[in-house]
C-alpha cells in the first residue's frame, strides 16, 4: 500500500466546526443589528425616561452589549449596518455579486460606486468558489438545521421528502430572474433570495414589529426542503447559488480525493448537502467548499489542494480489487496527487 500523507488533515477535519461557528456568528449578528438600530433611535431621541418598561429593558441590554466596543454610541454604532446582501463594515461597503448583477439588469446602467462594492466578494468567489453558500449565508444555517430536523424526524419514523430534480434548474431561475429585473425595472431577484429576505425580515421584526411577504416565502422554502426534497432551494432554485457556481467554476481552492486512502465508505456523498459526489471526484462547479465531507471522512482521504480543475473520476479506493490490479500494472506512482 502506498504511504499516504495528508499533513494538514488535522486542520481540514475541524474546518466544519469553524464553519458552523462563522455561520452562527453571522446569523446572530444579523439578528442583533436591528436591535442595535432600535437602541440608536432611543439614543437619538434622548428619550430614556419616556420609554416603556420593555423598551427600557432593550435599551439597557443593548447598552451593556455595545458599550465595550464604542466610545460615542450615537456615531460609532453606524459602523456595522445592513446584511450579507449589502452592508457596511467599518466604512467598507460590501454587496452581494447577485445584487450587482440584478441591479445592472434592472437599470441597464453602470453605476460604478455600487458595482465596486461587489468586487471583493467577486474576487473571493473566483478563488474560493461558492464559499458564500456554505460559510456566510444566514439562510444556510437555517437550511442546514432544517436538514438536521429532517434527519431527526426520520429517526422517529416520519418520512421526509427525498425527491431529486435537475440541478441546472437554478441557472434558469437566475436567467429568468435577471430578465424579470429588466422587464419590470425593479430588482425583483431580491424578493426570492433567502439571505436578502432574512436580512430584511429580521429588521422588520425588530423595528416595525411584524414580518413582511418575504418571511412567508422563506417559510415555504423551509417546508419545501423538509417535505419534498432535501435542501431543495439551494440545490435547485437559488439564483445566488447559480451565480456563485458559475463564478466559482474555475476556483483555485478545491477539495480532492486521494484514492490511495479512500475506502469507498460513501459517507462523503451521503453527507453532501448539495447532492454532489465526492466519492467519485464529482465536485464540479457547485461545490461550496463547506468541508462537511472532509469532516466525515474516516480515512482522511479528502483534503484541500490548489488546482483549477477537478481530477477526473479516479475510480474506487484502495480496498477494491480494481485499484490493486491497476496499482500492480501501473507501478506505485499512482495515487500520489
Amino acid at each position: 500500500m502506498v504511504e499516504y500523507r495528508n499533513q494538514f488533515a488535522l486542520i481540514w477535519r475541524h474546518l466544519n466546526k469553524v464553519r458552523w461557528l462563522i455561520l452562527s456568528l453571522v446569523f446572530s449578528l444579523l439578528v442583533l443589528l436591528p436591535f442595535v438600530h432600535v437602541y440608536q433611535t432611543y439614543l437619538a431621541a434622548h428619550a430614556y425616561d419616556l420609554l416603556a418598561p420593555g423598551e427600557r429593558q432593550l435599551y439597557d441590554v443593548m447598552e451593556a452589549l455595545t458599550a465595550p466596543f464604542v466610545d460615542d454610541p450615537a456615531e460609532d454604532l453606524d459602523a456595522l449596518k445592513g446584511s450579507t446582501w449589502s452592508g457596511r463594515l467599518f466604512g467598507l461597503k460590501l454587496s452581494d455579486p447577485l445584487a450587482a448583477a440584478s441591479q445592472l439588469a434592472a437599470g441597464l446602467t453602470f453605476y460604478s460606486p455600487f458595482l465596486l462594492t461587489a468586487l471583493i466578494p467577486l474576487l473571493a468567489t473566483l478563488v474560493l468558489g461558492r464559499f458564500y453558500c456554505g460559510w456566510l449565508c444566514p439562510a444556510t444555517l437555517l437550511y442546514e438545521l432544517n436538514t438536521n430536523l429532517g434527519i431527526l424526524l426520520n429517526w422517529f419514523g416520519l418520512r421526509t421528502g427525498m425527491r431529486r430534480f435537475d440541478r441546472r434548474l437554478k441557472y434558469a431561475v437566475l436567467a429568468l430572474g435577471l430578465v424579470a429585473c429588466t422587464v419590470s425595472g425593479s430588482v425583483l431577484v431580491a424578493t426570492v433570495y433567502p439571505p436578502a429576505i432574512l436580512g430584511r425580515e429580521f429588521y422588520y421584526a425588530a423595528a416595525h414589529g411584524g414580518l413582511g411577504v418575504g418571511a412567508l416565502f422563506f417559510l415555504a422554502t423551509l417546508l419545501f426542503d423538509l417535505l419534498v426534497s432535501r435542501r431543495a432551494f439551494c440545490r435547485y432554485l437559488c439564483p445566488g447559488g447559480a451565480l456563485y457556481s458559475i463564478l466559482g467554476r474555475y476556483r483555485v481552492l478545491r477539495i480532492q480525493r486521494d484514492v490511495s486512502a479512500c475506502n469507498d465508505c460513501t459517507k462523503c456523498s451521503a453527507i453532501c448537502e448539495f447532492d454532489l459526489n465526492p466519492l467519485r471526484d464529482g465536485f464540479g462547479q457547485e461545490c461550496n467548499n463547506c468541508t462537511a465531507c472532509i469532516a466525515v471522512c474516516p480515512t482522511n482521504a479528502l483534503s484541500f489542494r490548489w488546482r483549477v480543475t477537478d481530477i477526473p473520476n479516479q475510480g474506487s479506493g484502495h480496498l477494491s480489487p480494481r485499484y490493486r490490479r491497476e496499482q500492480q500494472s501501473q507501478g506505485p506512482t499512482r495515487g500520489e496527487a
Partner: protein
C-alpha cells in the same frame, strides 16, 4: 431532447416573467400617497437602482422609513417609503450616505444642498381646514418646519404660506393639529 425541454422552459418562463413584470410592477396604486426618502431619484430610476437591502431604514434615527409590502405592486416590494402623517423625515441625510446603489443620493447636510437637491414633494395648505385661516391663530406647522422662511412663511394670524424652498420633509403635516390635516405633502415622485 433535454436541452430542447430546457430552452422551452426558458422561453415559456421568459414570457411568463414578462407578463408578471408588466402586470405587477406597473400596477402602482394611484391613491397611495407616500414619499421616498430624501435624495431619492425619480421613481422609475429609483426602482431600478434600489436593491431592497433595507439599510436606509436601519440608519434612520427617527425610524420614519418603512417598507412596502404588496400594497404598491410587486416592483415596490420592500422598497423604502415615508408616510409623513405617521412619522416625518428630519433631514439627517444618513440614508443617502448608507445607500450602496445610489438610489438615494448622498447629499451633504447643509441648507443649500438640501434645498437644491432634495425633492420629496411639496406642502399644500387647505385653507378651508387650516385653523389660522379660520380665525383661530395656530402656527404649529411653521414651528415644526426645519427650513422656516425658506419653505414656509407665516403672515397675519400665523396664516401659513408655502414657499419655493419647500422640499416635502413632512414635518408640518406630522405636526398639524387639525384632523383631517390642513397641510399635507403632495409627493414629487418624478
Amino acid at each position: 431532447m433535454r436541452r430542447r425541454a430546457f430552452f422551452r422552459f426558458l422561453a415559456i418562463g421568459t414570457l411568463a416573467s414578462l407578463a408578471i413584470g408588466r402586470a405587477w410592477a406597473g400596477a402602482q396604486r394611484l391613491g397611495l400617497r407616500y414619499l421616498r426618502p430624501p435624495g431619492a431619484l425619480p421613481e422609475s430610476e429609483f426602482l431600478s437602482r434600489c436593491i431592497h437591502c433595507g439599510q436606509c431604514g436601519e440608519v434612520c434615527p427617527n425610524r420614519c422609513i418603512k417598507y412596502f409590502g404588496l400594497a404598491n405592486g410587486l416592483g415596490s416590494l420592500d422598497t423604502p417609503y415615508i408616510v409623513p402623517r405617521e412619522k416625518a423625515c428630519i433631514l439627517c441625510m444618513k440614508c443617502g450616505d448608507v445607500c450602496p446603489s445610489g438610489a438615494i443620493q448622498p447629499i451633504p447636510r447643509t441648507v443649500e444642498a438640501i434645498t437644491q437637491r432634495v425633492r420629496m414633494g411639496r406642502a399644500r395648505i387647505d385653507k378651508r381646514l387650516c385653523l389660522s385661516y379660520q380665525g383661530k391663530t395656530c402656527g404649529v406647522c411653521y414651528r415644526a418646519c426645519p427650513l422656516p422662511d425658506l419653505a414656509l412663511r407665516v403672515g397675519m394670524l400665523e396664516q401659513p404660506e408655502v414657499l419655493d424652498g419647500c422640499i416635502g420633509c413632512g414635518l408640518c403635516e406630522r405636526s398639524c393639529i387639525q384632523m383631517p390635516h390642513a397641510i399635507r405633502i403632495i409627493p414629487d415622485l418624478g
